[in-house]
Structures are given as structure tokens and as C-alpha cells.
């Protein structure tokens, strides 16, 4: 059975003026345990709306969302979320304090949570930065704290909303490599939102391409069967995968640009 199931999900936002905006309509998707699923779409296509509903931050207007067969009821520690910006970090806590936050909230004893937090800080390469506050760290380091914070809580699923979009190109590439090795080491199920085709091909086992918004849903799903060494922008099979995905999303980019004007 799929770990994450979205069946015929719709989300309608009501504005203050009373007009409705339908972000997604009839969205269906199954994600299997251990998958790295990238949801790819143009801006305004509703991909973040999908993630927010799976995270439990927003309720679906209609349709069914299940995690491990159970309907979701609000946010939960089984789904760890990594946000795009750094405003989710707690500026008054150190890197260590941020990483052990979830464990502290769940009543884990001090020694145990300290041990775990340090272990995950080491995994994301932040050993030696434990006692620094987020403001003292670079953008890439802050995203590492977010990732360590979520991993230390040991969720079933990682939900990542364009976590590397605000980083410079070199840091982004390094973070992508690290995330892949963490994913291989931990075997977590990942739902990763991005608008970057390259990023999706580097990371994903499957890529879901969304229609342009509004009232969006999946246009198609591409299996990425590249080996580790083939996940390189210059590799022939990488280029072929890029073409396939690009073919699918090209028209949607045009539509979304038209609608923006």
C-alpha cells in the first residue's frame, strides 16, 4: 500500500472579497515508502498547496489524503517539513537547541535528545557549530539545521518545499548531493517540491509534473532510472530525461506566463 495517498483532492481559497480561487482540482497521487518523489511545476501551479495539505497545515476542500492508510488530522511528527526560507528556525535557540526542539517537545530525556541532536548535526556536516545561533550561520548552514531538525525527530516522511531555492548555485549543488546521501542512508520517503527540472532529475526516483494553475493537477509522472553516476548534467541519459520532462512542462510554462500578464 502506498504510504502517501492523495485521491481526487481539491483546494479552494476564498478571498476577502468572497471570490473563490481554486488552486488544485482532482489531484491524485500515490507515493510508495522509500521513494524520492519530486513534484515539479511552474510558479503558481499549486505545488506548495499540495505539500501544505499533506503536512496538515491546510485542509483539503474535497477529496481524501491518507498517510499509511489513515486520514490526516492536522500536522504531526510523522511528517517533517523543511521550508524554503529560514523564518521557521528559532533565532533564540542555538543550532543544537533547534535540532533537539522536536525531541524536547515530545518529552525525550535531555541526554538522549542531546546525543541524537549531535548525531544529526554531524550527519549534515555541522559539527562544531552546535552553539551558534541561526543568525551567525550562512544560508546553506541554516537549511542544514532545518534538515537535521526534521531528521532528529525521525519522521516517516520528509516534506521539502523548495528547500534550496534561495541558495547560490554552488551551495545548492552541494546540498543536493548531501541530501541524496542522507536519503540513501536513512531510506526516508521524500516529497520534494521544486520548479527546477535539473534539481528534480538529480534527486528524484519519480517526477510528477503539474499543469499550470489554477485548478491544477498532475499532468504526468516520469520515472527516473538514472544511476548515481548518471545524475550529472552532462550525461547523455540525464539530457534525455531532461528532454522528456521539459517536453511535458514546456506548454505549462507558456500558459502560466500568459496568465501572469
Amino acid at each position: 500500500m502506498a504510504l502517501v495517498q492523495l485521491a481526487n483532492v481539491s483546494k479552494v481559497y476564498r478571498s476577502l472579497r468572497g471570490t473563490d480561487y481554486e488552486a488544485v482540482r482532482g489531484f491524485s497521487l500515490d507515493i510508495e515508502p522509500g521513494e524520492f518523489f519530486c513534484l515539479l511545476g511552474t510558479s503558481g501551479c499549486g505545488k506548495t498547496t499540495v505539500l501544505n495539505m499533506v503536512a496538515g497545515f491546510e485542509r483539503a476542500t474535497s477529496g481524501d489524503i491518507r498517510i499509511g492508510g489513515a486520514a490526516i488530522d492536522g500536522p504531526g511528527a510523522d511528517r517533517g517539513v523543511v521550508f524554503q526560507g529560514d523564518d521557521s528556525l528559532y533565532s533564540w535557540l542555538t543550532a543544537l537547541g533547534n535540532v533537539e526542539f522536536g525531541l524536547r517537545m515530545r518529552g525525550i530525556a535531555r541526554r538522549e535528545r542531546d546525543r541524537k541532536a549531535r548525531q544529526y548535526l554531524e550527519l549534515v556536516g555541522l559539527t562544531g557549530q552546535e552553539h551558534k545561533h541561526p543568525t551567525e550561520l550562512s544560508g546553506g548552514m541554516k537549511q542544514r539545521i532545518q534538515i537535521a531538525r526534521v531528521l532528529a525527530n525521525e519522521p516517516q516522511i520528509l516534506l521539502m518545499d523548495e528547500p534550496f531555492a534561495a541558495l547560490d548555485a554552488h551551495t545548492r549543488a552541494a546540498m543536493q548531493r548531501e541530501l541524496l546521501s542522507i536519503w540513501r542512508a536513512t531510506g526516508k520517503t521524500v516529497l520534494f517540491i521544486t520548479h527546477d527540472i535539473d534539481e528534480a532529475i538529480i534527486l528524484a526516483t519519480r517526477i510528477g509534473v503539474m499543469h499550470a494553475g489554477p485548478a491544477s493537477k498532475l499532468k504526468g509522472v516520469v520515472d527516473v532510472t538514472l544511476s548515481e553516476s548518471e545524475r550529472d548534467r552532462t550525461h547523455d541519459r540525464f539530457v534525455a530525461a531532461y528532454r522528456e520532462v521539459h517536453e511535458m512542462i514546456r506548454d505549462e510554462v507558456a500558459i502560466s506566463l500568459q496568465r501572469a500578464h
Binding site: 503536512a55 496538515g56 523564518d87 521557521s88 515530545r106
Partner: protein, 253 residues
């Protein structure tokens, strides 16, 4: 350490120039008994200190300010948190806060004296009054300004709603509370002097009023000088306190 010395040198230079300009203004520009030069004021201040008068008046005024300020802060923080957290509470209390905060404490002096007498009661009431609304409004604004992602992150890390309040909303609001306290402290100085000018048996404001009656201009200037120095020192102490104990809550300052 070098940075600290540099800052101190800056302050000393600033104060020196202030006194220098004052000196020139009073000896050359407005040569009058009604505008004493700094050295005469300082001599008078030393005199009054030796007599014990100045110390007593300062203590009285500062005690009133600290009592009222503490009271206003302790009342204001929980109310501000409640207003910021619950829409129902905000609707219920907004008529009070938005109505009363436009009635200045100075306008309430007469009423305060009628209600609480000429002694400490009316002064402490007025300081609480002048403090409490600034604290409430800043605290409520702080709660409203907590980044939604901070709360979302906590919820998906397994925090309960109560935990979100105590471990996320509250610490995130601390910088706003401290800013409110700093502003309220400045207001307290204004209010206490106004209250003591109008109706009091003691305090720096009363000292200014009495000096006026006997045309003791030097003595008025002593009170003004002391007020300026007290305000400056209190604000520095406050900022120092923010750095030392709560710096981690407010990386912006």
C-alpha cells in the same frame, strides 16, 4: 574591550561638547541669572547632595517610577499576549486599550489625585496607566508578528498548541516586549514629573515647582540635569540588560 573604550570616549566627547555649548550659551549668548552656566548648576548639585535633599527627591521619584513601571509591565504582558493570541479577547479588550491609550496620563492627574490622594497612590496609578498600554500594544503586535512558519514547524515537530505558545510565540515576542518597556520607561519620566509638578509632597517635579516659587533657578537646573542623566542611565542600563540577558532573543538590536 577596545570597542567598549571607543564607545565610552564617544559618550564622554558628546557630553563634553553638550556642557561646552551650554557654557557658551549661558555666559555669552544669554548672560542672565535665569540661565545658569553648568559649573554653577554642578556646584549647586553638590551642595544639595551634601544636604541630602537631592538624594531624597531622586529616590522618591525613582521609587514611584519603578513601582508603577513594574506593575504596568506585569499587567500589560499577559493582557498583550492574550490579545495577540485570541481574536475574541482582542475584540473584548480593544475598546479599552484603543479608547484609554488616547487619554494621556497627564490628563488623568486630577482624577488620580481625587481618587488616590496626593501621596504615592496617585503617582503609582499614573505610572501604571502610562506604562500598561504601550506594553499591551507592543506585546500584542509581537505575537501577531511571529512568522507562521515558526508555528507550523513546531506543530509538525510534534508540539502541542500550549507548547507552541510557551516555546515559540512567547520567546519570539520578547524583543517586542523589551522595546515596549523601553518606550514605557521614557513615558514614565514624563508622567512622574508632570504629576509631581501638579500635586505632590515630594519628588523631583515638586522640587522644580518649589524652586520656581522662590526663583531658585540653579535648583531648577539641578533637577533638569539630574532628570536627563537618570533617563540616559536608565535607558543605557535597559539596553545593556537586553544585550546581556536577552540578546539571543533579539538579534536585530
Amino acid at each position: 574591550m577596545r570597542q567598549w573604550l571607543g564607545r565610552l570616549a564617544g559618550y564622554l566627547l558628546g557630553f563634553a561638547s553638550l556642557f561646552l555649548i551650554w557654557h557658551f550659551a549661558s555666559t555669552w549668548l544669554l548672560n542672565s541669572v535665569l540661565f545658569p552656566p553648568p559649573w554653577r548648576v554642578i556646584v549647586k548639585a553638590v551642595e544639595l547632595t551634601e544636604e541630602g535633599v537631592l538624594g531624597d527627591q531622586v529616590m522618591v521619584s525613582m521609587l514611584r517610577i519603578s513601582t508603577g513601571f513594574l506593575g504596568g509591565t506585569l499587567i500589560g504582558i499577559p493582557l498583550g499576549l492574550a490579545i495577540g493570541s485570541f481574536t475574541v479577547v482582542r475584540r473584548l479588550l480593544e475598546p479599552y486599550t484603543e479608547f484609554l491609550r488616547f487619554i494621556p496620563a497627564t490628563a488623568m492627574i486630577t482624577v488620580a489625585v481625587i481618587w488616590f490622594g496626593i501621596g504615592e497612590g496617585s503617582k503609582i496609578f499614573l505610572i501604571i496607566y502610562t506604562t500598561v498600554f504601550i506594553i499591551i500594544i507592543n506585546t500584542a503586535a509581537g505575537v501577531a508578528a511571529v512568522a507562521p512558519n515558526k508555528i507550523r514547524a513546531a506543530r509538525s515537530l510534534g508540539a502541542s498548541r500550549a507548547q507552541v505558545f510557551f516555546f515559540v510565540a512567547l520567546p519570539a515576542t520578547v524583543p517586542y516586549i523589551l522595546t515596549g518597556m523601553r518606550l514605557a520607561m521614557a513615558n514614565s519620566f514624563v508622567t512622574i514629573i508632570a504629576a509631581e509638578l501638579v500635586a505632590a509632597n515630594s519628588g523631583l517635579g515638586k522640587m522644580i515647582w518649589d524652586s520656581r516659587m522662590y526663583m531658585l533657578v540653579d535648583q531648577i537646573f539641578v533637577a533638569l540635569l539630574v532628570l536627563g542623566l537618570l533617563g540616559f542611565t536608565t535607558d543605557r542600563l535597559f539596553r545593556w540588560g537586553i544585550y546581556a540577558f536577552a540578546g539571543r532573543f533579539s538579534p536585530v538590536t
